[in-house]
């Protein structure tokens, strides 16, 4: 297991490097002069040149990339054109909100998805199974932003139970987290149902039943444990779509995370912030995928020996 974990961590390095190359390339091809943008439209030429030197923009592209990479290792993501503050500081202030939203959403998705999947599989062909499969199909087609607007219309505007926007109250997270989590719920429910159906047909499940073990223990202890590795993979893959979805959901509910920050930065042409937030989001995704792979190996030890 240790060797497998080390191998996977080492494989992470080229992927992260590639992510930095993509973001760096984008920063280089964006039209406009970064030194001029930072100095301001009316700044004298000497000041612009001084900034250009300070940011190594007068050096060859390879040298610029090297300075960009070494800056990243020190947590330096450049300066925002708009606020003139370090991008890393701005991200640090808003990233916890995105993490909180993603964690609450994935918890909702795991509980609802696995619960629905187990019930659907154990009651295959029942009305519950039919309804949940129908909802699962709709869940992947409804656009996240529209779902958010409709939940807002029902629970905030019509019933007045929840706030429409971020106000700082603990209740604020309910609507965005449900909006973000419902799409993942449908994927997790589908995967749990199909894995459980497969496992419940296995001989050892029949043996466990024949031994007189209660159905609850057969389902939760014998079947679920063996269906779990595939479900964990889907949960991991959903973290990627959650991250993408968070950008949209944060915009719908004015949730102050890095998704909203990214969208605002594109609108204001604040390129260092766009690139910084994309880099952080993509790196987070790569790391989450690594954690899922390692978890997968813990749940199914055969993986680490392959």
């Amino acid at each position: 297991m240790g060797a497998y974990a080390l191998k996977r961590i080492l494989q992470l390095i080229p992927v992260l490097l590639a992510v930095t190359i993509v973001v760096f390339t984008v920063m280089k091809v964006i039209p406009g002069d970064p030194a001029r943008m930072l100095a301001g439209e009316l700044a004298p030429l000497e000041q612009v040149e001084a900034i250009r030197k300070e940011l190594f923009l007068d050096k060859p592209i390879i040298v610029q990339y090297w300075h960009y990479l070494s800056g990243l290792l020190r947590g330096d993501l450049g300066y925002s054109y708009r606020s003139k503050r370090p991008v890393s500081e701005e991200i640090a202030a808003r990233y916890p909100n995105t993490v909180k939203l993603a964690l609450v959403s994935i918890c909702i998705a795991i509980v609802l998805g696995i619960g629905t999947g187990i019930l659907s599989a154990t009651k295959q062909g029942s009305w519950f199974d039919t309804v949940s499969r129908l909802v699962s199909m709709l869940g992947v087609t409804v656009p996240t932003f529209w779902l958010g607007l409709m939940l807002m219309l029902i629970f905030a505007v019509r019933l007045g139970l929840l706030p429409t926007m971020y106000t700082g109250s603990p209740k604020d997270i309910i609507l965005p987290a449900f909006t973000l989590g419902l799409n993942s719920t449908t994927f997790i429910a589908r995967m749990t149902r199909s894995c459980m159906l497969e496992v419940l047909r296995q001989d050892y499940v029949r043996t466990a039943r024949a031994k007189g073990i209660s159905e609850r223990i057969v389902v939760l202890k014998h079947a679920l444990r063996n269906a779990l590795p595939n479900v964990v993979t889907v949960v991991g893959l959903q973290m990627g779509s959650l991250l993408g979805g968070a950008i949209i959901v944060e915009s719908v509910f004015a949730w102050p995370g890095i998704g909203l920050m990214m969208v605002e930065a594109v609108a204001f042409r604040d390129h260092p912030v766009v690139c910084g937030t994309v880099l952080v989001a993509a790196s987070a995704l790569v790391i989450v995928n690594l954690i899922v792979d390692l978890l997968y190996a813990v749940l199914d030890p055969r993986i680490s020996y392959r």
Binding site: V26, I30, I248, V266, H271, C275
Partner: protein
């Protein structure tokens, strides 16, 4: 190979595919005949009839500028479909050629391009699109380019996978034995046999492309007002959710129904053409 009519007969027996195909056909027809269905222009404003609830004159109501929502939803189908179709055709073509050459040729080109595709797949489509729009600036063309770029790795990976098994087939060996060139074999024998995979992939990618395009317009990076695009319409409707919810309901329903149709069609086609992918 099965005849076209034989395939259509099998397709007509698959309820999922038929429902999906019907929905998609209705959306396409409505988009095509929009000027004959509606007597309003999608961008014609009438401040005297702003935010009117659904009525006989305006079955879907009017928006904040007094524009007929039904007309805008109908014309919106043209924009949403063209954006998705344009992006998928461009990205699909490039991705197919890359996947074909990588899978058939193998070697260094294969390993280099597939590593690049792995990196591209590490970025969620919306992040990729935001990066591309940062470079190109917001607008419909940028969205088409963004869709094309996120399609390339998906198609190249899928086609490469299919080509790896197809190139070991006996007919490829037979073509080589009768003196066909490698390029000829690749494009005349291998490529046509990837068609089932390509058809399934395209219907599913069109659904994703529609969702991405409308999401980008919703966050202000795609179609710009007053263009009647579904995502952009929903974005401007947000301010009137309390007073005029119908402005938000119908464009969202239009996206959901279209994506549902494409997904059903894709799932049905997959069951028919590539049953191994069913699981």
């Amino acid at each position: 190979m099965e005849s076209f009519f034989g395939f259509c007969r099998r397709l007509s027996r698959n309820r999922l595919a038929v429902t999906g195909a019907l929905i998609v056909a209705i959306v396409i027809v409505l988009a095509a005949v929009a000027p004959w269905i509606s007597r309003y222009q999608p961008e014609a404003m009438s401040l005297a009839s702003r935010l009117k609830p659904p009525c006989a004159d305006h079955p879907f109501g009017t928006d904040e500028m007094g524009r007929d929502v039904l007309t805008r939803v109908l014309y919106g189908a043209r924009i949403s479909l063209s954006m998705a179709l344009g992006g998928v055709i461009i990205g699909g073509t490039i991705g197919t050629v890359v996947g074909l050459v990588a899978g058939y040729g193998g070697g260094r080109f294969d390993s280099i391009t597939m590593r690049i595709m792995d990196v591209a797949l590490a970025f969620p489509s919306i992040l990729q699109s935001i990066l591309i729009i940062t470079v190109l600036g917001p607008g419909l063309q940028s969205v088409v380019v963004a869709i094309a770029i996120f399609c390339i790795p998906v198609y190249s990976r899928t086609v490469r996978g299919a080509v790896l098994s197809l190139k070991e087939m006996e007919y490829v060996e037979a073509a080589r034995a009768i003196g066909r060139t490698e390029t000829g074999i690749m494009f005349r024998h291998v490529l046509p046999n990837t068609l089932p995979v390509l058809i399934v992939q395209t219907s599913l990618m069109l659904a994703s492309a529609m969702l991405v395009a409308s999401s980008l317009s919703f966050i202000g990076l795609g179609a710009q007002p007053p263009t009647p695009e579904w995502g952009a319409m929903l974005a401007s409707s947000r301010a009137y959710l309390r007073t005029a919810p119908w402005v938000s309901v119908f464009p969202g329903l239009a996206i959901t129904i279209s994506v549902l149709g494409l997904n059903l069609l894709g799932d049905g086609l997959r069951d028919l053409l590539d049953p191994r992918l069913k699981q």
